[in-house]
């Protein structure tokens, strides 16, 4: 019979012990906030995604016009590129190399003259095939070249482009980062703690000691889960608070977040317990714990959206329980997509029930 009173006594002792141990507190609460501050600071200055590109205009002009300049200022007005002009006397390729630049645009000497006379002229776009920005630069330059070509023959642009980011005009990296890092702390804090606790208690015979009291395994695990739910919600409030006040993040806070903040810690506390239970000693438990945790820490959409990863890694990500928690949090907080969130929730709930049941079943107080 499960006793709420015993769960509460154990909860009291465990949480007090946790708060007295500075390590736990640091990794549970301070560390996620530090992550928000660091990642938020790194990306907050550059949230429009503008690419710096060097350009050299060798065009000498014709008929009183310098079309090279006009071309570059048109590029600069696009939100995609920021043109940094290089003095015409420089050797352009050398200059690019010296500045470790991966992208450059060179406008030739007779650009204006040939354009006006209707003769072909080539722009040179320098790029680095391994760089993700080069494609964007050549695409943009190509687009503007077409535009200039059409204008030359009095053609009309039918399709124009306005750039916008997904969903709302104001969405910034920090808005995606908050759910990711909340997922990160939902994973790491209960998981690492329970791997450690369950293997250490086994080694130091603390489980045997507890088995001599009326406390049951189920009550013990429940009290741990409750504590990590409390810790997760505290961490959630801290991270969202820092995100909003330090970086002006825009996230939606609705009761739909609660099931994720409850099931998440439950899932990973049980998973940690399971790892500690099936391994022989704390060393093995630590290794297995890391093997299970690390892929999730990076591949489940914690620090960056999984859409930027290659397809095979995206497939891997869909096999990680944390992915559904982070996707669900994103659906609620960023996209306001409750239908999507409910699907994620169902997946998370099923995984949680399975892992929890398995952990309770395999976990032993005593030895055979």
């Amino acid at each position: 019979m499960v006793s709420g009173k015993r769960i509460f006594s154990d909860f009291k002792v465990f949480s007090r012990g946790y708060l007295r141990n500075k390590f736990g507190l640091f990794f549970g609460l301070i560390f996620p906030v530090i992550l928000i501050l660091i990642f938020g600071a790194i990306f907050s200055g550059n949230n429009t995604g503008t690419i710096d590109v060097y350009a050299q205009n060798q065009d000498t002009g014709a008929f009183g016009q310098n079309l090279g300049d006009r071309f570059l200022s048109a590029l600069n007005e696009s939100t995609t590129l920021r043109v940094i002009t290089v003095n015409a006397s420089e050797n352009f390729p050398d200059y690019l190399a010296a500045h470790s630049a991966s992208d450059g645009i060179l406008i030739p000497q007779n650009f204006s003259a040939n354009y006006i006379l209707g003769q072909p002229v080539n722009l040179t776009v320098y790029g680095n095939p391994t760089s993700s920005t080069s494609g964007i630069v050549s695409g943009t330059v190509n687009g503007y070249a077409n535009y200039f070509n059409l204008q030359r023959f009095n053609g009309t642009m039918i399709i124009g482009l306005t750039s916008a980011t997904v969903n709302t005009q104001q969405t910034k990296y920090i808005d995606f980062l908050i759910p990711g890092l909340i997922g990160f702390s939902i994973l790491t804090s209960p998981m690492f703690s329970l791997v450690n606790i369950s293997s250490e208690y086994k080694k130091t015979k603390l489980f045997k000691q507890l088995s001599l009291t009326p406390l049951t395994k189920m009550e013990w695990l429940t009290s741990k889960v409750l504590w990590y739910i409390v810790l997760t919600i505290a961490g959630f409030l801290l991270m969202v608070g820092v995100g909003i006040f330090a970086f002006g993040a825009h996230v939606t806070l609705t009761p739909w977040l609660i099931p994720f903040l409850v099931l998440g810690p439950m899932l990973f506390a049980a998973l940690g317990m399971l790892v500690g239970t099936v391994t022989k000693n704390p060393e093995t438990a630590g290794v297995i714990g890391n093997i299970v945790t690390f892929p999730m820490m990076f591949l489940a959409g914690t620090f960056f959206p999984i859409s930027i990863m290659p397809t095979y890694l995206q497939t891997v990500a869909h096999g990680l329980p944390l992915f559904y928690i982070i996707e669900g949090l994103n659906n609620v907080m960023v996209y306001n997509n409750i239908t999507g969130a409910i699907i994620d929730l169902v997946v998370v709930a099923v995984i949680t029930v399975v892992i929890f049941a398995l952990a309770v079943k395999l976990f032993k107080w005593r030895e055979d």
Binding site: D10, R20, L206, Q209, S211, L215, R366, D368
Partner: protein, 322 residues
């Protein structure tokens, strides 16, 4: 109903027979001492009785219950100090007692318990900062919280200073006076002798001797003997000139003469005096539990419970400690 009944208990770990077919009973209100060298199987036996380990074979009844199957019921009625007691790092002894009281749903006065085990001074120190002895005392304090009728104390005084040991002895005597049944393991034979009504000596998973210490000494000890400090030549002289059995312990330079009757001592001394040789201290002594323990453990016993191959008198070895 006896509090503890064990019949043909066996437990193996691979090739190691940790507990090898032992049987014993413990009576109500008795203090039963379990002795034996490291690895003899004491902890394994005790933990099977506590329901913390499963047995391989045999029958075990503790307070009328099967400890493995009915462990949850049993644990409410017993108190345990495990060997090398450990607990949560960041909890004070006082909080630990309160925690146990909450789990058992009993009302206790933590300060009174702390006082009883001489731990008042460390009531508010975190467990991981306590000394080894203080940790051990915390274990004892916790084992008392549910006022158990049966206690299992696995090396409760190992690593304690003499004062603390005596304090724990007092606690144990107090519990005995209240009619509690206690099983105690220890490496200190004086402790076993002081506290236990009966002892069992275990070796290699078997019980090699059991009874009161007097009974064990009488059964396995060598009886009274005369020891004379002198040369081997003198020993031979006495041997040739009396009817007595004379042994010589070279390492200690001691002539050892088992006394079948007190008068044998006179004959031996007369012969020594007659020899004209020098001789020093004389004394008569009897095997202590220590001596018997060392013999039992180093030589083993045959089917009849006699010690095998013990001819030379061994010096009383200092108490073994872990």
């Amino acid at each position: 109903m006896l509090p503890i009944e064990v019949v043909s208990l066996k437990k193996c770990y691979g090739d190691i027979r940790a507990v090898d077919d032992i049987s014993f009973t413990v009576k109500q209100g008795e203090v039963f001492g379990l002795l034996g060298p490291n690895g003899a199987g004491k902890t394994t036996t005790i933990e099977i009785l506590e329901g913390l380990r499963a047995k391989d074979e045999g029958q075990v009844k503790v307070l009328g219950l099967d400890p493995w199957k009915d462990g949850y019921e049993l644990h409410k009625k017993i108190g345990v100090i495990p060997q090398e007691f450990t607990f949560f790092e960041k909890i004070t002894p006082k909080e630990a007692i309160q925690y146990y009281a909450d789990l058992f749903k009993v009302k206790v006065d933590p300060d009174a318990i702390l006082k009883e085990v001489l731990l008042e001074d460390s009531a508010k120190v975190y467990f991981d900062s306590l000394s080894g002895g203080q940790k051990q005392k915390t274990g004892l304090a916790l084992s008392l919280v549910n006022s158990p009728e049966l206690l299992f104390l696995d090396e409760p005084t190992t690593g304690l200073d003499p004062n603390a040991r005596r304090a724990i002895w007092e606690v144990i005597r107090g519990l005995k006076a209240k009619g509690k049944t206690i099983i105690l393991t220890t490496h200190y034979l004086d402790e076993a002798q002081q506290l236990s009504d009966r002892v069992a000596i275990m070796n290699h998973g078997k019980i090699v001797a059991m009874g009161t210490s007097e009974e064990i000494i009488k059964q396995h000890g060598s009886g009274e003997r005369l020891e004379i400090h002198g040369t081997e030549k003198l020993a031979n002289y006495i041997k040739e000139n009396t009817e007595l059995q004379v042994d010589y312990n070279r390492s200690r330079g001691e002539i050892v003469i088992p006394l079948k009757q007190k008068i044998d001592a006179l004959a031996a001394l007369a012969a020594a005096e007659q020899s004209g040789m020098d001789w020093g201290e004389i004394q008569t002594r009897q095997d202590s539990l220590d001596d018997v323990f060392v013999k039992l453990v180093s030589y083993g016993v045959n089917e009849q419970g006699e010690i095998i191959g013990d001819n030379e008198v061994k010096p009383a070895v200092s108490k073994r400690r872990r």
